[in-house]
Amino acid sequence: MAPVKAFLGWPLVRQVMGADRLGRGHAAMSERSRGLAPRTTDADEVVDSICPYCAVGCAQKVFVKDGAVTQIEGSPASPISRGRLCPKGSASKQLVTSPTRVTKVRYRRPFGTDWEDLELDTAIDMIADRVIKTRKQFWEWEADGKRTRRTLGIASLGGATLDNEENYLMKKLYTAMGAIQIENQARI
């Protein structure tokens, strides 16, 4: 019966037999269109988030399927943003799924002319060594006879897209290190 079925499925037949005589709508609709659904309907998870760009703090909904972000859009529930996003916020999915995002550690040795590969674990260890060394090298108990208990050898400049919790740990660690030149986009 397949040929019959195929014939009856021919939109032209639907057109002739149904109400859509000009083949404008109902008759012309394809199987795909009939079964269409937004790709977010089968998301595994919808996660509440906040836009990372400016400081308005628009609420975002992050749709996740199979461990990947499939859509980011405004959350209408927010009293501040009421579901709206600017072009940057609307581009958030591209931000997090960008193909040019670098996902491996890059290392440039002193006087090197190109990047090299480095294991993350090794990199963190090397950085810890350098912090310890520089801190010691530039340690200062006092300046002009006044107690300073610090190092001016290490500085940090953070962006203002960091979380409060991150800033908190950073300031805490740096302060314990004695590093004071800890700065932020807020100054810039």
């Binding site: 400016c54 009421r82 995002r101 520089t134 953070g158 800033n167 660690l173 302060t175 986009q185 807020a186």
Partner: protein, 883 residues
Amino acid sequence: MPGLGTSFGRGGATTNLMDLQNSDCIVIQGSNMAEAHPVGFQWVVEATRRGATVIHVDPRFTRTSALADVHVPIRAGSDIAFLGALVNHVLSNDLDFREYVVAYTNAAAIIGEEFRDTEDLAGLFSGYDAESGSYDPESWQYVNAPQAPAAGQRDPAQPGGPHEERHRAARSETAGSGGPAVSAKPERDETLQHPRCVFQILKRHFARYTPEMVEQVCGVAPEQFAKVADALTSNSGRERTSAFCYAVGWTHHSVGVQKIRTASILQTLLGNIGRPGGGIMALRGHASIQGSTDIPTLFNILPGYLPMPHAHEHENLDDYVAGDAGSTGFWGNMRDYAVSLLKSYWGDAATADNDFCFDYLPRLTGNHGTYETVKGQIEGRCKGYFVVGENPTVGSGNGKMQRLGMANLDWLVVRDMQLIESATFWKDGPEIETGELATAEIGTEVFFLPAASHVEKAGSFTQTQRMLQWRDKAVEPPGDCQSELDFYHELGVRIRRKLAGSADEMDRPLLDLVWDYPRDEHGDVDGQAVLREINGTGPDGAALSSYTELKSDGSTACGCWIYCGVYADEVNQARRRKPHWEQDQVAAEWGWVWPANRRILYNRASAAPDGTPWSERKKYVWWDPEAGSWTGADVPDFIADRPPDHVPEDGATGPDALGGQDPFIMQTDGKAWLYVPVGLADGPMPTHYEPAESPVPNPLYPGQQGNPAIENIKTASNPMNPSLSEVFPFVFTSYRLTEHHTAGGMSRTLPYLSELQPEPFCEVSPGLARERGLEHLGWATIVTARTAIEARVLVTDRLRSLRLGDRTIEQVGLPYHWGPNGIVRGDAPNDLVGLALDPNVHIQDKVGTCDIRPGRRPRGPALTAYVADYRRRAGVVDPEEDS
């Protein structure tokens, strides 16, 4: 922001975006809100739908101007003259909200006889030391102020010395939450007639800020000025309120703090602070700028705006607290906040016996801000550098200086999502092209660590209206990508492991540090546990609900006292997501706002002194005599049960010293400060000074061209254009576009945003185009003493030639988003910026002078020669020889 902090007691925006819909008039100045905060701008549009008047004062006609009722083109950097004239208009026509002003401000306070105004000293206040280029604020005090030391003044060892100067300056930011200290309530004249009362001083100070002066300084016609003045004054008072919105158009100036101060004075005189539809909306530019000052990664403050201690021969916790906390108001409890912070840092190691490890804190000796630090890098004094989610070679002022600093490090760690210019400067920076740097000669070891995106980690941002909003984690970060939380935690773990067993005293703070955090179900450091530490815990280990529960005896720990309450009842309050349609307009159950979830600050002022609403239309928080408490739509920003007629006992301290009519509870006297006797480095009242680089003389104070207390960064790569130079006759101003984000790392890398603004351009008026032969879509070279860049030209009527008296000023507009990397590329406009800093906050001018010529810039070494020739012709002084 000390402009707001010194005026009202807290540095945060006094209001919130949603409340703008209740405004009758909104003045947007120093902000291009529709472009930089499009979603926030919906509330301005709501206000216009309700009939509000919107005024945009800005050098350029922007997308904000397009929707405003009035656009006032103004010369970049002349805002104080404009706002000062509005203050003068209000004062000289008795248009202030007198009942509010008398009750809630320091207008009645009487200033000491030693004080001299700029009007008396040709542009300087009393106390100026020309040698150090700084002020001693001693003479600015209230009359008969007891001799207890005011902030920044406690170290007599080196009066006027460089340390002293910086010391004082660095204190300004501590007004983020808690006004600067004056030791007692001032003498007052409630009739405001005393010649030395603040009201009269203010009147005299601004008397010469007339509409005619505005025309001469700002290029604004008197009719335009009158339009703004009328709209603002007719929409302020009992029945109506007006709001101000500002952003980096004000903060990015060498007089940035005083710009905000002028607006604060104006809004206070008009009675617009603490009331619905009123206030000053500080529009921050990044997701958590507010958060990164509340819990700072800033050199001069600790969490909650506690000051970093300065170097002294002997100092203990008591001295530290005594020097910075006033005895009255809520800042009077600073010891509780400081001890609780030390407990959260060093836990059991911090005991009353060891001063709660106060000595573990490193000390400041001056300005250790980012630009001073970069100078230190160039001079070889700073060799290790973490750049975290930031792109200073494009985003900071004077990119060359940034790159020269980076090229002189031992090691550099860059954490980002894309290979930004700050990570690749050694390979393809502009100095490689000119030959000033050579890759093979740069010894900096560079680690690029890929960062997790905002959906790949959980955490909170504090947005522009002081609201903390929690983000859940959606997906795992790809590859080596990692959150800052995980990276810094791991770094700390390894450093501590490597130092374990060290007996060296210098390692004690690291080894005693509380650094064990639980991990969540993803194996990440649990951000909620960190937030809970920030919130603070009581003696029983349970999360605290309010900073009023903090103790100085070591029984409480709190990582940031102003965030105390964000984890109240062991619930992450920042994660609350009750839809707005299930709440009233204040929407108190969405996120969490510091302090104590108060949405409009100083809202006690929304009621008259007797506690009743000023008007039915502007009802917000009021005294309920039957309940014996303050009530209303918001959490009262006041002591809940303190009646309006309460008069504190003499000698009361801390919050007990606050009367029933003292709405500004973080100020030592409970009042909004029209005049700031202490806490600012460049004067108790705002004064118009020209930007560090200006093509015009200062007509208000002919002898005083620029801010006398300005901070210069003296290094060879930071030469400044001489003011009034014929060689640099135009004004440039840099700014953002909607389609991009700051230094571009998060936008130039995305096709959908790059295609919308695909190339660097400059905007010029038809007049300037004619004068210099610039063609629409052609190339132009823009030159300052620092360097020259090229950009395509947009000739547009949106930029106007401004008439200042008999001369015309042309401005060059420069969106600053591009750099050499990314999908769409070009020269970075911030390379043009010279560094001259606001002495309060060490932030640079976003305006300067320049030349502009048709055609592309020279390539390679010819570029440095080209700029050197400009410097020679302009007579630019080598900064290092200029002492």
